[in-house]
Structures are given as structure tokens and as C-alpha cells.
Symmetry: C2
Subunit: 268 residues, 2 copies
């Protein structure tokens, strides 16, 4: 295998360009950086992996874990120099491995047709770390899908992908949603919508979480606007027992999702 | 009030030097950056605030919220230029305000003498964002104190202080602890120690959290070593209902702490 060694080649530039949203939208591709993301892509979404790039050192280190499974799945594995990989990636040190993947988003209809019990809907969430961590928390809590509004951060941006720690490849994502239309669709599907917001008067431990529901999470700085809260079945507050002003978005979402997961398992 | 305008003055250098651990240890001081941290310092720990530095613009914006309460508490409030504030701070943009504070750490004896119900003990936690977010989560969940091992990140480092979102000033912190000695002291005080670790066989929903207990959280990458886990009363795992490999440290801690807070309030 001849390694790609020219960091200024067209191929390197085209991979690097995936750090720009317009290029991701135009090509329908994004870059998964680092062994955790690439391993989960190969394991759970091999059909959507276009190319794997690895240094010789990483190819040895991740041979059993990533490289062999990738080759067995018929994927293209390209050996590159350290310089080429660094030039391709948004992260300084992606531990020697990255993969170009196809953006595969699900549709709301498909998700709802499966009778979901637990969903999360992000509205106007802008911080990449928070958005990615919510995807990871939703995956951990066994949520059926993550729904993302059109005015939220692009979940295929490098920082979001990194923060999901591979969970991006584990559960359906629906992107580009209009929130009001989505709330109507959820209602018609019999999914209760619970707004998680500091303005809520109902406390999390007092909510019936045994029924199918979606958590609506708003912007990390200013929460959910009143007109959206009013369209939800309940506005729920995570209780603050100490003197903290709030939890951050990812923590609040994870606490809510775990409360839901626990209740749904207790109830059956 | 004459504004400080020279970013190369000795005072600016001495404040900036607080971004170094050795200087914080030597002077017993640290820098709280941004309105949220400074407001919480003034409200909850005014006796430990040495100097407040603010731009003219921030002094107007935070007049009622921070500046007047600071002056009423007899604190020194210094007006500085934007350049001076930027030169003092670790953050690029601390929104025009920062405060030098005294490092006030509590002792384990003091914390235990008060009969704590809920504690968290960080052992070998290295990531500033995770450590700070655990302090914030502990505060939100109403924990009685956060205990920090000698081999963990310095909780007065700029990134940790920022991640606590002011919670650093809300609850007692005990730092520089030897973990084994601390586990013995907790046991003698009748506080059960629950290790939170992916190696646990007991699942979080199955643990009796109504009794006084401390959550022991280990390193974000490799968890808790077996010899420490063996010294705990239980090793508890946050269940993963989906396909995620794990939660990050801050998320796991927050889920555990909220489970504890909920159980202790239900039980009494």
C-alpha cells in the first residue's frame, strides 16, 4: 500500500473542506475523527463509510479493532502520513485515524412509525459540545432518536461529532426540522412533549414518565421561548437542591433522559 | 475613579500569573473570570474576594447585580481598560469583569463533623471541564461538599473555575486529599462509599441511596483502579440502555448525584 504523503493534494483539501457546513451540505459527507468515532462508524454504519484514512502506526494499533473489520466490510482503507492526516482533520491529534462518512439522516415519519417511547428534540441549540453530549446521553439512556431543529448547530460539524463519542452512529438522527410542525406530528403520534426549562413549575420527580414522550430542550443560554413552552404538554424543571443557578444543557438533558429510561423500565 | 490602563504593569502581571498553579499555591489566591463567577463570589464569599476588576462598560452593565453589592460589602472595585482585563485573564473575553479571590478550602474534619448526607470524592480526575462540571452538578444536587484528591486537577485553575459556573463559591471544597485516608475517615464517620465505575455489577437503580454516602469518581479515561474499588462499599454502574460505550465523567456524576438527591428526599 502506497501511503498518501502530500498534505497539499486535492484529496486532502477535499477532506479538510468537510469542516465547512456548506461543503458538508453540498457533498452530503462529513469527517469522523479519531479511533472511537471511526470504530463505531465501521461497526454500526459501515454502508455509510466512504473512506478510512490511517497512519501506518494507527493501522497497527487499531488492526483488530478497526482496520480488519473495515477491510472485511469492503471499505477503502488508505494509508496516509501523519502530516496528511493532520491536514485533513479539524482536531490537532485525531490519534492517527479518520473516516469520511455519508450524512445519513432519518425522517420524522420513519421514527414515528416505529412507535418511539423516548425522544429528544433540540431547538435552537447552538453549542457543539452540548449538542454532541446530548446525543451521547440520549444513546446511553436508550432513546429512540434525536430530533434536531433547523436553527440548531449542524450535528455533523467536527466538534459535535467528537462530543458524541461515536453515538452519532448508534441511533437515528432527524435534522433540519421545523419545531412547530414537529410538535404537531409528535402529538398526532401520541407522543407527549415535555419542555425541559428552568421556567417550569412541574418538577422532574413529579412527572409521569412511563408514557411515550419527547424532551424538548432549548437554547443553552436563554432556554425555550414562551410561545414554544405553551405548545408543550408540560414544562418541567430539573430541581436545583443547592445554590447552583442551573445545570448546563447536556447535564439537564442527561438527568431527564435517565429519569425517563428508569421510569419506563420500572413500568414495564 | 482612575482606570488602570497599562497592560504591562506589575499588578496586571501578578494577576495574570494566577493562571499558574505554583503561583496560586504560593499566594493562596486565584482568579474568578466573568460576571457569573464574580457575582457568586460577591454574594456567597465576599470575605474571600481580594479585588474586583471591571471595565467601565461592565461596571454599568453589572451595576445592580455585582458592583453595588461589592461596594456595599466593602470590596475594592478597580476600573480597568479592556486591554488590561484581557491581559489579566486566561479567557479571551471574560465579559469585562474578574475578581482575585482567596483560595478557601475546607477540611475533611469540618465537613464530616456536620453529618453529611451526600458527598462526592474525585480521585485522579484530570480534565478541567469534567472536574468543574462535577462541582456544578454536586451543587445543583445539594451535595454537602466536594472532596478532591491530591492527584486530581487543581480546582482553582481557570478552566475548572469557569466550568463550575459559580458553584465553586456555593459548597465546601476539600482539596489535596489522600484517597485511602479519606476512605477510612468516611467509613469511621458512617458515610458509605459508592464507587461509580463501568466495572460495577450493581446498577444505579438498584442501590439504596437513602443512607449517607459519598460517590467516588475516578479518572475520565481509565476509571478507578481495582485496589480502590475493593475498598469501597459498593461498585455501582450507571446502566447503559443503548449502544453508547459510556457516559463522560461529569454526566455520570450528575446522574448519580441526582439519583441520590431524589432518593434522600423521597426517604425523608
Amino acid at each position: 500500500m502506497t501511503a498518501l504523503t502530500n498534505p497539499r493534494s486535492d484529496r486532502v483539501k477535499s477532506v479538510r473542506a468537510l469542516s465547512r457546513r456548506s461543503v458538508r451540505v453540498g457533498t452530503g459527507r462529513f469527517l469522523a475523527e479519531g479511533p472511537q468515532a471511526v470504530r463505531e462508524a465501521v461497526r454500526h454504519a459501515a454502508a455509510d463509510v466512504v473512506d478510512v484514512y490511517t497512519t501506518a502506526e494507527a493501522a497497527r494499533r487499531f488492526a483488530a479493532d478497526i482496520i480488519e473489520p473495515a477491510r472485511e466490510a469492503g471499505l477503502f482503507v488508505h494509508e496516509v502520513s501523519e502530516q496528511v492526516l493532520a491536514a485533513m482533520c479539524d482536531t490537532g491529534s485525531p490519534q492517527g485515524i479518520a473516516a469520511v462518512c455519508r450524512v445519513v439522516a432519518s425522517s420524522l415519519e420513519t421514527v414515528l412509525a416505529r412507535g418511539p417511547r423516548l425522544l429528544v428534540l433540540l431547538s435552537n441549540v447552538r453549542d457543539p459540545g452540548n449538542a454532541g453530549t446530548v446525543v451521547r446521553g440520549a444513546d446511553a439512556a436508550g432513546a429512540d432518536a434525536v430530533l434536531v431543529s433547523e436553527n440548531s448547530v449542524d450535528v455533523f460539524a467536527p466538534k459535535v461529532v467528537r462530543s458524541t463519542a461515536g453515538s452519532l452512529f448508534h441511533l437515528p438522527l432527524v435534522i433540519g426540522l421545523d419545531v412547530e410542525t414537529t410538535l404537531e406530528a409528535l402529538r398526532r403520534a401520541g407522543v407527549r412533549v415535555l419542555a425541559a426549562d428552568g421556567a417550569g413549575t412541574l418538577l422532574l420527580p413529579d412527572v409521569d414518565l412511563g408514557v411515550p414522550h419527547a424532551w424538548l430542550m432549548g437554547n443553552e443560554a436563554w432556554g425555550l421561548p414562551e410561545e414554544l413552552r405553551e405548545r408543550c404538554d408540560e414544562v418541567v424543571r430539573v430541581p436545583i437542591y443547592g445554590q447552583a443557578e442551573s445545570l448546563n444543557l447536556a447535564m439537564a438533558a442527561t438527568v431527564c433522559l435517565y429519569a425517563s429510561a428508569g421510569a419506563q423500565r420500572r413500568d414495564g
